[in-house]
Symmetry: C2
Subunit: 532 residues, 2 copies
């Protein structure tokens, strides 16, 4: 028994007895900022090295989203300055469209605020938490405000804001606001000072940026680390912007009773038929009629007059009605050609392959899985394969073990495709494997967006994609093995041709000329067979 | 290449070009209810079977917290009624202090509202999310309100509320409100209808309640499943309430610049010395003076006049000052005796052990690790050991792989204590192992509170606790092995004693009486040696 216990039992005062009334007095609202201050590990701020990387990641995500939405080829500058021991200033500058002045405080100084949460289309950010959380972490560990400079056009001045979050109210507090000089016509720069640890290697900033370049060949990034003399440049591999991701309406299959009731209440449609046609994707007049009448309602009924019971019947009817899959132009996959181009750019290998699965749907949300690999060449043959995970083109560097992408790779039988693999482990061999999930709503396992949750439909698509690319790899490895076997045989035969010549000369008593002819004929035959 | 791509490229309209202005128009606040509706898997509602268990868990957590705070021995009734296929009604009733009428709507109909978040003391709930999230999930999947009945005393009537959440505003909407009959003097009952799947087994409700009883021997629970004829009763094993967890002030070591700045602004103290003495635990006049003067400030300075730079110096000074560890009466561990009693009650084994580590601190938060085990007897010898994880006395049934408790068990070298263990796996043998972390703030890896994050200090304590109990186990296993070896030897000798008698009789020509005496003497010696 621990020595603490008896002592404590003796010392404890007579038990205080809370009542319903005294307990009621303690009840309070919790601001979302306070919540995440205490739960910072949910946001990726559980260690000083992760905090630094997460801050950069949130700023880069936002910059890339903004540039693409404005159809601008992104030019990013990422800089880390050492301020003191274990204190850094992170500055990310982009050439994006800029941010309208009055929106700046809320975007950077309020959690759960943004443009991406309510839209069904693929983007890197989706929660409205990231960058303001990074600012809040900086404020918490250093007391310093987040500094934003932004300019929207040559005709307007650039504005600078210094902001902190009032965590009790989850509202921005403007510490300083002014006009500043800004060279370019438009763009945004964010600076955050925070306690952190600078690390290189697998979880380092350079690794993260290199993988970002891999999944975003249209991006150019200049990176200046705190200990580097020269900036590292990740060059643009393609001047083509990714295909545009369009916003879609929710698909009926993804809607549950509670949401339907809310939509019925909020819609501007005055009749049930037009409600279904305007508020959902893939519902035409015939499908709308079938759903409404199947639930015992009339197409002309007002949505506001639908009871909970009828809403349940509508849901039951939706589930029994054949409705086409949601449109997939809300997605912007990398594409097989660009995956191949990126892999060729970054990896010195013998063989490259890529595979994009057709879009699929989970809980009404379209998503798409893509995989790519580089094999052989200068890649290390004895290590486990390098696994690069991506969600909506963003590299995932942490929580590999908790991620559905990793688990799908582990569960694939790579031995069938010619690689070695221990039970429950990654395969080993000279290979880099990239796995990408794109979706209008990636189901991350936490707000830090480091790992993807294992919804059945997603796991199924991952499996099919990995098996598909595995087969391509298997064909290459088998061909390669055959080729090498043949080469070995050739070399062997080649070595003995002169001896055959000598032997034949002796046995058949050939002239030197005859011997040479035999040797030449044999060598020629061998050379021709090698070409096959 | 997938056949989709070229078709899509052809069909896509000319690219729309968002501007800073058009993007600003899209910015919106996101209510925390909407956020968790979309991210339901963060709350433990990612599958229908988990949804059912999570709902029960949240209601039971709240009931137990309320009973203990009011010093009432908890009597709980948990009932699951099948309403339709894959639809259930969960009803949890307690004998707690009841809830003051006007608090009911917010407690059950608003996320991030509660009494436990702002206090530093051990409790099951801590986030102010759980039960309202369960109600919201019910509303989302069935459209039905959450129904609460509560009574605070015989002098007052019981009240019933039917509530839904307005998810756009994160506010409760009262659907119905009335007085109802209620037998007992006080208590609360919560009913939630939801889509779910009822499962037995490792992740089943009965398993969860059995483990709850294991960590809470003072609790009595009656459980009526949807398919059972008779309720299952988990009997109270002890009538003694757990030691009371008291609220403490934050410890200086856990405070960062940002929080200090906020505290300096909000305090009622008018001088720095009294600020430190009243707002923190373990700071007396001497320590306060040392901190303040070490930072170049005066003890009589007003807290409001401290600048960010001075606040940083105060933090630096705190880190250099020796301050006693925080008080630990904010914790209420189970205790070694009760762990042993519970294990004896539930497990038919040969050997029981328990170990409570002394309290420790991470990020300024006191915490304490306890472990217990039952070994041998009727436990299955060939399986992996059964691992029961607990945080603040609540069983954790999901995300075993992502939990620091599990990882600590995996990393312990159980071979040293006589168990078999494969690399990276749980040990195998006839054993049940329970691991408990109690803290004023358990750092869970997600809002669903299923796994504990691996803060260094917690992992260290877990390791020491597991090694400590491992040594106890090792002593038992070695003793047991020795005992069994000795028993085998004894049996062997015993078998031959008569033959020795016969041989001696022949060699020394003994009489029958002499032979009998020799055999008796040898048997007596053997019997005495067995007692040793």
């Amino acid at each position: 028994m621990s020595p603490k216990k008896p002592a404590k039992a003796k010392a404890s005062p007579p038990r205080s007895r809370a009542t319903a009334k005294s307990m009621a007095a303690q009840q309070r609202e919790i601001s979302v900022s306070e919540f995440f201050t205490k739960n910072r590990h949910l946001l990726g701020f559980d260690s000083p090295s992760k905090a630094l990387l997460t801050t950069i990641k949130e700023a880069v995500d936002n910059s890339l989203d903004a540039c693409e939405e404005a159809a601008i080829l992104p030019d990013l500058e990422v800089r880390i300055e050492a301020v003191a021991e274990s204190r850094y200033r992170v500055i990310v500058t982009d050439n994006g469209p800029g941010i309208v002045k009055k929106q700046i405080p809320k975007i950077f100084g309020k959690l759960l605020y943004g443009s991406k949460f309510h839209r069904l289309r693929q983007s890197r950010g989706q929660q409205g938490i990231g960058i303001s959380a990074a600012g809040m972490y900086g404020q918490l560990t250093t007391g310093r405000p987040i500094v934003i400079e932004s300019r929207v056009s040559r005709r307007r001045p650039a504005h600078s804001y210094e902001l902190v979050i009032d965590t009790l109210r989850n509202e921005p507090v403007i510490k300083r606001e002014r006009e500043v000089e800004w060279q370019a016509a438009h763009g945004t720069s964010v600076a955050i000072e925070l306690e952190g640890t600078y690390k290189r290697g697998r979880h380092g900033v350079a690794t993260y940026l290199r993988q970002t370049a891999l999944a975003n060949p249209h991006v150019e990034i200049s990176y200046q680390g705190p200990q580097d003399e020269e900036p590292e440049i990740f060059r643009r591999a393609s001047r083509e912007l990714p295909s545009e991701a369009l916003e879609i309406k929710p698909h009926p299959y993804g809607v549950e009773v509670g949401l339907l009731i809310r939509m019925l209440k909020e819609t501007k449609a005055r009749r049930l038929r037009s409600f279904f046609q305007t508020e959902f994707s893939r519902v035409g007049p015939t499908v709308a009629k079938r759903i409404v009448e199947g639930a015992g309602l009339k197409v002309a009924t007002s949505p506001r007059r639908v009871t909970t019971e009828r809403a349940e019947q509508l849901i039951a009817q939706i589930r029994e009605t054949r409705i086409p899959a949601p449109p997939t132009n809300c997605l912007s996959p990398i594409g097989e050609e660009r995956i191949l181009a990126s892999l060729r750019e970054q990896q010195q290998a013998d063989f490259y392959a890529a595979l994009s699965r057709p879009p699929a749907v989970y809980r009404g949300n379209p998503f798409q899985v893509e995989v790519g690999l580089a094999f052989g060449g200068e890649l290390p043959a004895d290590d486990l394969v390098g696994l690069y995970r991506f969600a909506n083109r963003v590299p995932l560097l942490y929580q590999q073990g908790a991620c559905a992408l990793t688990r799908s790779v582990l569960r694939t039988n790579w031995k069938a495709y010619g690689l070695q693999q221990s039970r429950g482990a990654l395969p080993s061999g000279p290979m880099v494997l990239m796995v990408h999930v794109a979706s209008v709503w990636v189901p991350f396992t936490s707000e830090s967006k480091e790992a993807v949750a294992g919804y059945d439909e997603i796991v199924r698509e991952l499996r099919l994609a990995l098996q598909g690319i595995g087969r391509k790899l298997g064909v290459h490895i088998r061909k390669d093995r055959k080729r090498r076997d043949a080469a070995r045989k050739h070399a062997y035969i080649e070595k003995y041709i002169p001896h055959i010549g000598i032997a034949l000369k002796e046995i058949l008593d050939l002239s030197d000329r005859q011997e040479k002819k035999v040797v030449d004929t044999l060598s020629g035959t061998l050379a021709r067979s090698r070409k096959m």
